[in-house]
């Protein structure tokens, strides 16, 4: 075949028609990933983050925070039976659950900001799936050895030795999973007493169920599902493309430097070839089993372990480090043209995120710091709307509820305003027809009173007049107002 003819075929050698492509199977079976051990700067960061996050998760329920008598002293506690949530100095009642919504929105926006700046650092470093998978892989390596040993072990016949390794690996996994599931429940219980109750069989059925559930999910997700959670189950990789732009830092193979890749023999020239020696170290350490040299892809969680692996190789062959690096698409394009790199952190996208974040956090801080500790709710009797008394006066019944969110017993005065001559009687109190009544509310609770308000018929101008209830805290002087209708016969 003439040379130009060969050239002709070479250019089109891997071209596939639509039909040929279609014949590829639609279903691909799962290929188990055996990530290799790796050391380096990124790995050290990952260990530090992992230890920090796990410490927070396992230890936070044990922190104490004194709130006074009769109130839980656990720093972080969601007290479902009593409908309270505590977070250090913050205490939330059910009607204030919108703070939780704001926290979730802030978390989401924080994630967006971090992603647009640094790519998928959430996925690679802090996501629970990544943290626990990393922990489980560490256990696996300790018991079954590194990549090659594990692959051999899986292929080998079942022997006592293999069985012992497998059993002990799963046992350790289950212990970690149990500790994880157990710690989750501690956020909903008083940790020190609950642990005793749990192991003596005194805890509720629900507690055992949830510990079992979270033990199972941890074991399955971190032990078995691993990267499949990220690739198939998690929605985040699907829409992160919309959050990244050409200035976001992503794990990048510097193809302008690495290509053309190929095997390199020690002592031979580096001219006319790239730095990539095609050793596949980057592939072997990848926890999702991909080749970063294929470019940015959905499966890449941005953990950067391939950077460590490649740096190690580059040191050995005596080429500059960072063939794989954290860098932006824009910089890669500049570098390929030999122009200087330029980091753009301040961009319209990041400014927008920061502004919205600041607004939300500010609003929540103001809301929390000015949170009222005293509330008044009024409910007019549905039946009878009003009662005519023997002397012709009109009486209305109300349910008056005082929400005392402080941790001391509250003493209050209740007064009326808006209708001349209005007096009240409190059910259970001796004094009748007073203009000011003294009410109390237990710490951290709602006090409910039945209040009958009487107005002389002559003072009633309409069948519906607005009546103000003024509740004043005797000790602080704080006042809350409530408004309800006073009903009477049509004049």
């Amino acid at each position: 075949m003439p040379d130009d003819q060969t050239q002709l075929y070479a250019d089109t050698a891997d071209v596939q028609s639509r039909e040929e492509q279609k014949k590829a199977p639609l279903f691909a079976g799962h290929v188990k990933v055996y990530p290799k051990k790796v050391a380096g700067v990124v790995r050290r960061y990952k260990w530090a983050v992992l230890i920090g996050l796990l410490a927070i998760y396992y230890l936070a329920p044990w922190l104490r925070w004194d709130r006074g008598a009769g109130v839980p002293d656990q720093a972080i506690l969601i007290d479902l039976p009593n409908r309270r949530a505590y977070f250090f100095f913050i205490e939330i009642w059910p009607q204030e659950v919108y703070y939780l919504t704001v926290i979730l929105i802030v978390a989401a926006l924080g994630l967006f900001l971090a992603t647009s700046l640094f790519g998928r650092i959430w996925c690679g470093f802090t996501c629970p799936q990544t943290v626990w998978t990393d922990l489980f892989m560490w256990v696996e390596r300790l018991i079954e050895g590194d990549r090659n040993a594990r692959m051999r072990l899986d292929k080998a016949r079942m022997t006592t030795g293999k069985a012992a390794r497998k059993v002990s690996k799963h046992a350790v996994w289950l212990i970690i999973a149990f500790a994880t599931g157990g710690a989750w429940v501690l956020y909903f219980q008083n940790a020190p007493t609950f642990v005793v109750d749990f192991f003596t069989g005194q805890a509720g059925v629900g507690s055992y169920f949830f510990v079992g559930l979270f033990t199972a999910t941890t074991y399955l997700l971190a032990g078995w599902a691993r990267e499949q959670v990220c690739t198939y189950m998690c929605p985040w990789p699907r829409f992160q493309a919309a959050l990244l732009d050409e200035d976001s830092l992503v794990v990048t193979y510097q193809s302008w430097r690495g290509e053309p890749r190929g095997k390199h023999k020690r002592g031979t020239s580096w001219d006319d070839r790239g730095d990539c020696i095609d050793c596949k170290a980057c592939v072997s350490v990848c926890p999702t089993g991909i080749d970063i040299r294929d470019g940015i892809q959905l499966e890449c969680i941005g953990c950067g372990l391939c950077i460590d692996a490649c740096n190690d190789i580059m040191d050995k062959v005596g080429r500059p480090r960072e063939l794989i690096t954290f860098d932006s698409e824009r910089n890669q394009a500049l570098a390929a043209e030999g122009k200087p790199k330029r980091m753009r952190i301040v961009r319209p996208r990041t400014i927008a995120y920061v502004v919205v974040l600041a607004l939300l956090i500010g609003a929540m801080a103001i809301g929390l710091s000015s949170r009222s500790t005293l509330e008044l709710t009024l409910a007019h009797d549905r039946s009878p709307l009003f009662v005519t008394l023997s002397d012709g006066d009109i009486r209305n019944g109300y349910e008056v509820r005082i929400l005392n969110k402080t941790h001391e017993e509250g003493v209050y005065t209740l007064a009326l305003d808006g209708i001349e001559g209005a007096t009240m009687s409190i059910a259970g109190q001796a004094a009748d027809d007073v203009v000011e009544a003294t009410l109390t509310a237990q710490p951290d609770s709602i006090a409910s009173y039945r209040v009958f308000v009487t107005v002389p018929a002559a003072d009633l101008t309409s069948d519906r007049v607005l009546l103000n209830f003024i509740l004043t805290d005797v000790s602080t002087g704080a006042t809350v107002l409530g408004e309800e209708a006073f009903r009477g016969p049509e004049p």
Partner: protein, 291 residues
């Protein structure tokens, strides 16, 4: 069934022979996990059918090996609820009404139980919350025909009003002054005019009221008292207040003098157990008029 098996050219998979608008359905095998769950549900359903009521016979049904009955379950639950309430109900049935209202837990239980009993038994006539309605007394105001203390309310509930099946029932009867011919029509008008003045209202015909005063003293004051304050012992209503059970217009008062209407309330003692009677008493007493 298609007569010959057709294979899809692209995938090599058999088709089912179904075709819609040129699109053929491949006969791919079901995913294994799906199939196993399907088998598991079949096994589950067979076990279920053996254990629980399932197959209808011509005259009855197969009741299952466990002997499970929803009716028994609900009876058990009702029994358990009754048992849980028993400690309160027993205490309420035995306890003195005043002592009851001083025990916060019992009092709260009694109010809630009393409200339920009231809404079932009393509200059709006396209205929700004791609002009353035309010709049926309001229980939330401060006017009582037979007394508004807890003891009085309890007794009224127990024996009823003009309830002839109960020998001790509260009973009073005002003579029908018109029908029986004791007063003529003018005299009735005179007395009605006078009765209006008892509550401080202006009589439509002051001269008639003056004439009526003598008749009132002679015929009415015995029960309704000279000043019209009534007498709870006899169940005779006060005439000197602003509340009129059968209407406060002149004609309405005349009608009541001429041919009085008398309300009837059943005796609830014996129909309701003692605990419920006590709870009802406390609830009615709490509506706003209790004395």
């Amino acid at each position: 069934m298609p007569t010959k098996v057709e294979k899809d050219a692209l995938t090599g998979t058999e088709t089912t022979g179904h075709e819609w608008d040129g699109i053929k359905e491949l006969n791919n095998p079901l995913p294994r996990w799906w199939l196993y769950i399907f088998y598991a549900t079949i096994i589950f359903s067979v076990i279920w059918m053996l254990l629980y009521p399932s197959v209808p016979w011509l005259n009855g049904y197969f009741g299952g090996l466990l002997g499970y009955q929803q009716r028994e379950v609900i009876e058990d639950q009702i029994g358990n609820a009754r048992q849980a309430q028993a400690q309160f109900l027993d205490a309420i049935a035995e306890s003195d009404l005043t002592a009851l209202s001083e025990d916060p837990d019992l009092f709260q239980f009694a109010l809630t139980g009393g409200e339920a009993a009231y809404n079932n038994n009393c509200a059709p006539c006396h209205g929700l919350g004791g609002a009353g309605q035309a010709n049926y007394p309001v229980l939330a105001d401060d006017v009582w025909l037979w007394g508004g203390s807890m003891e009085d309310i309890h007794h009224t509930l127990d024996v009823g009003v003009r309830w002839e099946e109960n020998q001790d029932t509260r009973f009073s009867l005002m003579p029908a002054y018109g029908t029986l011919g004791i007063f003529d029509r003018d005299q009735i008008r005179d007395v009605a005019n006078y009765v209006l003045t008892l509550s401080g209202q202006a009589a439509p015909d002051p001269e008639a009221a003056e004439r009526g005063a003598a008749l009132y003293a002679e015929q009415c004051a015995l029960c309704h008292m000279d000043d019209g304050s009534g007498d709870r012992l006899q169940g005779s209503p006060a005439l000197n207040d602003q509340l009129w059970l059968y209407g406060g217009e002149l004609e309405e008062i005349m009608a009541q003098i001429s041919a009085p209407r008398h309300g009837v309330m059943p005796a609830w003692g014996g129909r309701l157990d003692p605990a419920t009677l006590n709870m009802l008493t406390l609830y009615v007493h709490s509506l706003g008029g209790g004395e």
